[in-house]
Symmetry: C2
Subunit: 456 residues, 2 copies
C-alpha cells in the first residue's frame, strides 16, 4: 500500500512536473512572439498620435472605438462586437487661464478644469485664498474664514511610499471631493494641487464630483510649481487673490461602446477569462500610458495567441472599456450584462497602470483562487515578474467582484506614472516599446494559464 501510494505520488508529481515544463515552454513562446512580432506599439502609435486624447463622448472616443473594432476584426478572432453604453459627455472648452494677484503684481500659473467641474463666470472668478492641506484643516477653519473665498487644497503626494499608487490612493480623494466640502463652508471655488510628485508646470486633470445637495462651485487643478508659487506668495501676503477663467460644459449623456473581441474556448467555452484596459483618456495628452497602453497590451494577447495558433480551453475575451476616467459606465455595463449571461467571467486581468516595465500582478477575490494563480509565480520569474500579491484588480473589472470573478491587476513599475498621469505629458514618446511588449507577454501568459487550468 505504501509502495502504491509512492507510485501514485511519483506519477502525479511527474505529470505536474511535465505540465510545468510544457507550460514554461509555452510561456517562452509567448514572450518570443511578443518581443519579435507584436503589433501593440504600432497600435498605440495610432491611438495616441492619430486619434489622441479621447474623453467619453468625444469624436476621438468614437474614432477609437471604430479603430479597435477594425483592428480586432483583422486579427480574425471568433467574435468582435460593440456593447452599447451611455456615457457622460463633459467638454473642457478653451484653454483655462489663471493668475495670482498680490499687490498689483499678477503672476500667471498653469491650471486645468477638473472633469465634471462647472465653468467660472465668463469674466472669471477672483477671490482671496485659504490654503489648507487636508479636510480637517479646512473644517477647523470653518465657514467664517472660508465664506466667499477660494479654497486652495495643497496636499502633496507623499514621496516616501515606494509604490506611487499608494501615495495617489491617499491624495486623490482631495481632487474628487474638496469642491462640495468647501462649498458647504461657503467657498466660491477650489484649486487643487496636481496629483503628481514631479515639479513642473503641467496641471493634471482627473475626475471630481459634486454632492447633489450642495451648490456647485468651479474646481481646477494647479501645476505643482504653480502650487508652490501660490503657497509662497500666500506666506508673504495673506490677502493675495487667485483668479481663474474656465468654461467647461456638461452636455447630455452620449451613446458610446465597449469593444469586445474573443477567442472561444475549445473545452469550456462558457468560462471566460477577460483581459482589458480602458479606451477613453483625458484630453490634455494623448492617453498613451493611461490607458492606451492597457488597451493595446490586451489586444496583443489575442494577437499573440492567434499568431501562435493557440486554441485556449476556456474563452479569452478582450474588452476595451469606455468611460473609466469620468464615470466608469463601461465597466458597470459589462458587469451588468455579465450577470444575465450564461457564460461566466471567471477571471479578469486589467492593465491600467501605465505601459512601464512589468513587475507583477495583484489579486483580489477568493483566497483559494488566489493561491492557485500564485502557484504559477515561479514560471514568471525568468521574466522578472517577482511581485505577486493580494491587492487591487482594476476600476473596470472591480464591478465583477460580487460575481465571484478572480480580479487581477497587471502591475508595471510605478515610478514614472504619476509624472504624466492625466497631464499633457502623457504622450506616445514616453512609452518604451519593449516595456509595452513585455507587459503584453505577461498578460498573455497568465491569461493562457487561466484558460488551461481555470480558477478552481
Amino acid at each position: 500500500m505504501q509502495k502504491k501510494s509512492l507510485i501514485i505520488f511519483l506519477v502525479l508529481a511527474s505529470i505536474h512536473c511535465h505540465a510545468q515544463q510544457s507550460d514554461s515552454i509555452m510561456i517562452r513562446k509567448i514572450y518570443d512572439e511578443a518581443l519579435t512580432n507584436s503589433k501593440c506599439y504600432n497600435w498605440l502609435d495610432f491611438l495616441s498620435n492619430r486619434i489622441g486624447g479621447r474623453l467619453s463622448g468625444s469624436s476621438q472616443a468614437a474614432e477609437a472605438v471604430n479603430y479597435v473594432q477594425m483592428e480586432l476584426t483583422k486579427l480574425n478572432v471568433d467574435d468582435v462586437s460593440l456593447q452599447e453604453v451611455m456615457v457622460p459627455h463633459w467638454v473642457r472648452g478653451p484653454k483655462e487661464q489663471a493668475w495670482i494677484i498680490s499687490n498689483t503684481q499678477k503672476t500667471a500659473v498653469s491650471i486645468c478644469a477638473l472633469g465634471s467641474s462647472i465653468a467660472t463666470p465668463k469674466e472669471g472668478l477672483i477671490a482671496e485664498v485659504v490654503e489648507v492641506s487636508n479636510w480637517e484643516e479646512m473644517e477647523n477653519l470653518g465657514s467664517e474664514l472660508i465664506r466667499g473665498k477660494i479654497v486652495f487644497m495643497n496636499h502633496p503626494m507623499k514621496p516616501t511610499y515606494v509604490n506611487t499608487f499608494e501615495a495617489y490612493g491617499e491624495a486623490a480623494k482631495f481632487r474628487y471631493s474638496t469642491a462640495s466640502k468647501a462649498a458647504a463652508l461657503g467657498a466660491k471655488g477650489v484649486v487643487v494641487r496636481s496629483m503628481t510628485m514631479a515639479m513642473d508646470n503641467n496641471p493634471h486633470a482627473g475626475a471630481m464630483g459634486y454632492d447633489e445637495l450642495i451648490d456647485k462651485i468651479p474646481a481646477c487643478a494647479i501645476s505643482t510649481l504653480g502650487a508652490e508659487r501660490l503657497s509662497g506668495i500666500l506666506k508673504k501676503d495673506k490677502k493675495a487673490q487667485f483668479g481663474f477663467i474656465m468654461s467647461p460644459q456638461t452636455l447630455p449623456d452620449t451613446l458610446s461602446h465597449n469593444v469586445i473581441g474573443e477567442i472561444v474556448g475549445t473545452e469550456f467555452p462558457k468560462e471566460v477569462i477577460l483581459i482589458g484596459g480602458h479606451l477613453d483618456a483625458w484630453d490634455l495628452g494623448d492617453g498613451a500610458h493611461d490607458d492606451g497602453a492597457g488597451v493595446v497590451q490586451a489586444m496583443e494577447v489575442l494577437h499573440i495567441l492567434k499568431s501562435l495558433n493557440v486554441k485556449p480551453k476556456r474563452t479569452i475575451r478582450f474588452v476595451a472599456f469606455m468611460n473609466e476616467e469620468n464615470g466608469g459606465k463601461g465597466g458597470e455595463k459589462y458587469a451588468q450584462s455579465a450577470k444575465s449571461d450564461k457564460r461566466k467571467t471567471i477571471a479578469a486581468i486589467e492593465s491600467d497602470a501605465g505601459g512601464f516595465s512589468p513587475r507583477g500582478f495583484s489579486f483580489k477575490g477568493d483566497s483559494l483562487m488566489i493561491l492557485k494563480a500564485m502557484s504559477w509565480k515561479k514560471m514568471f520569474e525568468p521574466y522578472l515578474l517577482f511581485d505577486w500579491r493580494k491587492g487591487y484588480g482594476g476600476a473596470d473589472i472591480n464591478h465583477l467582484h460580487d460575481q465571484g470573478t478572480l480580479l487581477i491587476g497587471f502591475m508595471p513599475d510605478s515610478q514614472r506614472y504619476f509624472d504624466l498621469h492625466h497631464a499633457a505629458t502623457d504622450t506616445f514618446d514616453k512609452v518604451n516599446k519593449r516595456e509595452l511588449e513585455l507587459g503584453a507577454a505577461a498578460m498573455a501568459s497568465l491569461a493562457w494559464l487561466l484558460s488551461e487550468y481555470g480558477v478552481k
Copy 2:
C-alpha cells in the same frame, strides 16, 4: 539539556528577530531620507548639464574630478582624496560623416568613430561593402572577398532576452574586435551596427581595440536605421559603396584621478565596504545614465549616512572610478593599491547599469559570503527589490575579485538602458528623480548592513 537547547534557540532567535526588526527600521529611515532630502538628482544635473560628456583625458573629466571632490568635502566625511591614475586620451575630432553610394545616388547616414579607432584618410575612405552578421560568416568569405573592402558587421542585439544586458553581452564583442579580425582578411575599414534595440538615427559609441600584430583600420558605429538602410541597399546593389570621414586621434596618456571619500568604521575601520560608479563618460551625450547616475548614487550613500548621523562599524568608502569606458585604468589602479593597503576591501557595490528603477543585486564571490548577503533579501522586498542572484559585480570592482572581495552589482531595470547607452540620447532628462533616489537608498541599505555585519 533539551530544554536548555530550546531556551538558547529561543534567545538566539529573539536576538536575530530583534536585529532584523531594528535593521528594517534603519532601512526605512534610509529610504525616507533618500526620497525626501537627497542631493543626487542635483549633483547629476551639474555633472550632466554643466560638465557633460567626460571622456578620460578631457577637460570635462578633470572638471568632474574637481566637482566630485568638492561636493564630497562639503559632506564632511572623514577623508576625501584623489588617487592618481594615467589614462588613455582619445579624442573624436569633428563630427563624422558617412554616406552610401549606389548608382550615383548618395544617402547620408549617421555614424560615430568607435573609441580608440584611427582616423580615415583626410579625404575619407570609400570602398565596396561586405555585409556579415558574425565572425564565422566573415571568415567563411575569406580574404579573397574581403580584401580592399569595408566590412559591415550587422549583428542586431537579440530582442528575446528579457534582461537587455544579456543581449549586449553577446553583441558587444563585435564592436570591440571586428576591426582587427577584418583587417587580418585585408579589409580597409569596419562599420558596426550600433549596440541598441532602438530603431533610430543615433549611432552608439563604445570601445574597440586593435590587435597589435595587425594593421589598424578605421572603425565606426552606424545607427540602427542607417544599418537597415545600408543592408537594404546592398540587397539590391551588391556594388554599393560606403564612404566615411572621421579624424579621431590618440594623444599621449594623461594624468587623471579616482575620487575617494570615506566614513571610517567605528569598530572595524580596516574592513572597507566600497560603493562606486565611474566618472568618465562617452562624449556624444552627457553621460547621465552611464554613469553619472552611479557616481551620484554612491555619493548619496555617504550623504544619507551623514544626514542620519549613522556611525558605521566598518569603513564605507566611496570611489568614483576614472576610465571605465576605454581602458579600465581607474579600477585597475584601485585594486593594485588595495593589495598593499593594510585595510581590506571586503565588499564592493558598483552601480553602472543606469539610474533606472531598482530591481535587485547580483553577487560574485565566495559562496558563503553570497549566502549571508542574500539572507537580507526579505528586508528589501518592501522596497520592491526582489531580484537577488549570483552574477556580475561590475567592470571597475571586478579587479578586486582575486583579493576575495564580495562583488555586488546594483541592478536597475534594464529595458531602456541600451536605447541611450553611449549615444547622444544619454542625457539628464532621461533620468527619473525617484528612480535615481531609490537606487541610492538600495545601495545605502546594503552598504549599511555590510558595515554592521561584515561578509563572514
